[in-house]
């Protein structure tokens, strides 16, 4: 049967919003998209660019699962408009590993059992990366404060902290 029982009707938006063309450097590659200004960066990454490593947990700026690096600093990508990233650099969890090697932070999470369900892990790792770029030898206390914007509902915080300290040590050794 070729005729359909259902035909979608296109609603015209009440106000005419021009689509914006943005080019964002994502994990080292320029990505161009036409987007509505209300699109959130987390949704552009996940749905638009299919980079589903960035997770949306709470969608209310609390949990930090959507943390990505914006020009090198960690941000909650559910709380930034994608259009604001135009011309800027974004790094997601997909940008951590090379095809052959895990990033020391990823290795740390593996070695120290830094994840249980893994939902918070991408955000934790990006927050940890931002910390280690500023401070390559953090104390346990400094790690805890730096990750205070990221929630783990498995409450596996002990091992997450250990994982970051493990990574810090490895990265210091590698940079020698």
């Amino acid at each position: 049967m070729s005729s359909s029982l259902f035909e979608e009707v296109q609603n015209t938006p009440s106000i005419d919003i021009p689509v914006r063309r943005v080019t964002i450097n994502v994990n080292g590659e320029p990505r161009t998209a036409d987007i509505e200004p209300r699109l959130l960066l987390a949704d552009l990454l996940r749905q638009g660019l299919k980079l589903t490593g960035t997770h949306k947990g709470c969608d209310t700026t609390n949990c930090g699962a959507c943390t990505v690096l914006f020009n090198g600093r960690p941000i909650k990508s559910c709380t930034m408009l994608a259009v604001q990233a135009d011309g800027h650099e974004v790094q997601t969890v997909e940008g951590l590993a090379t095809p052959s090697e895990l990033h020391p932070i990823q290795e740390g999470f593996k070695q120290e059992h830094g994840l249980q369900c893994g939902f918070c892990t991408p955000g934790m790792m990006m927050a940890a990366k931002a910390l280690l770029e500023r401070n390559n030898n953090p104390t346990e206390d400094e790690v805890r404060w730096a990750l205070a914007g990221n929630l783990c509902r498995c409450t596996g915080y002990q091992n997450i902290v250990k994982a970051v300290l493990w990574a810090a040590e490895k990265m210091r050794a590698e940079s020698k």
Partner: protein
């Protein structure tokens, strides 16, 4: 969650931004750090027709001290820039103490000092710090600049003194008379929660003697509590234990806490009393050293 539809503008100059706001006739919102506005857009508490993103306007991200010690904080200064500023750590103890306690570390990379003040959340840390410090806000509009004292800037919860065609371009903290001392303490159930109680203390000291004292409270009332009258008890006095206890009682009496899941009203008042004592005692010890 999606915000409702809006048009987006990213002007490159203040003049351009003000012209856009003026033309929008009250239907536009200014976007700086977005850490309050974007959640409000998503929850559809706010549904402006137009967003005016000021992040691409140069000249708004300065933290500068004039020769006399007056501090200027531009509209795009993020919380973490204050947290990591060596100059702030050295010269402005109230702001240095509050900065690491604002929201959480990820939010602090984006959210701005001036934006937080404009948001006028009664729980806001910076509003309390600004009132204790006797700061003011510099506002630019179509007719030029004007200045509004912090105590007059917030008209009520989430309501500030800006006209629809004006932008708060910087916060100014006056030069201290003598040495700038002070501190900030906040009790929260966990990082990022609303404060159970917070206390901002700003002192100008000449040796052991207090020349000016400002104290403000957040989390213990429907608005930021201005306890500067109570704090003025310290003016001309030393930070002795008796004086500290006296002013702590006077300030605690100013709090208007409500009992809720964060604690009873008596408990919150006691936290205020304790925090005032702790900050003042720490400053009394510092000057002896």
């Amino acid at each position: 969650m999606y915000p409702s539809r809006f048009a987006y503008e990213s002007p490159k100059t203040l003049e351009e931004a003000i012209a856009i706001l003026d033309a929008a006739n009250g239907d536009a919102k200014i976007l700086a750090g977005g850490q309050s506005l974007v959640p409000m857009l998503k929850l559809r508490f706010a549904f402006p027709e137009k967003i005016v993103d000021i992040n691409n306007i140069p000249g708004l991200n300065h933290i500068t001290f004039d020769a006399d010690g007056t501090l200027h904080i531009g509209a795009l200064v993020r919380h973490e820039e204050l947290e990591f500023s060596a100059e702030i750590a050295k010269k402005q103890p109230t702001i240095a103490a509050a900065a690491p306690l604002v929201a959480d570390p990820i939010v602090r990379t984006r959210g701005t000092f001036v934006g937080s003040v404009c948001h006028a959340d009664p729980q806001g840390d910076w509003a309390a710090a600004m009132i204790a410090l006797g700061g003011h806000i510099v506002i630019q509009g179509p007719k030029g600049k004007r200045t509004v004292e912090m105590k007059d800037f917030v008209l009520g919860p989430y309501t500030n003194a800006l006209n629809y065609n004006e932008i708060a371009i910087e916060a100014v903290i006056p030069a201290p008379q003598g040495a700038a001392k002070g501190g900030y303490l906040k009790l929260e159930r966990r990082v990022g929660d609303f404060a159970t109680a917070s206390v901002a203390v700003a002192l100008d000291m000449d040796g052991a003697k207090v020349l000016r004292a400002g104290i403000a409270l957040a989390g213990v009332g429907g608005k930021t509590i201005d306890a500067n009258d109570a704090a003025s008890f310290l003016v001309g006095k030393d930070l002795t234990e008796a004086n500290i206890n006296e002013v702590a009682d006077l300030v605690a009496a100013k709090a208007e806490p409500k009992s809720d899941h964060r604690g009873s009203s008596d408990y919150k008042r006691q936290i205020v009393r304790t925090f005032v004592k702790r900050i003042l005692s720490a400053n009394a010890t510092q000057k002896a050293a």
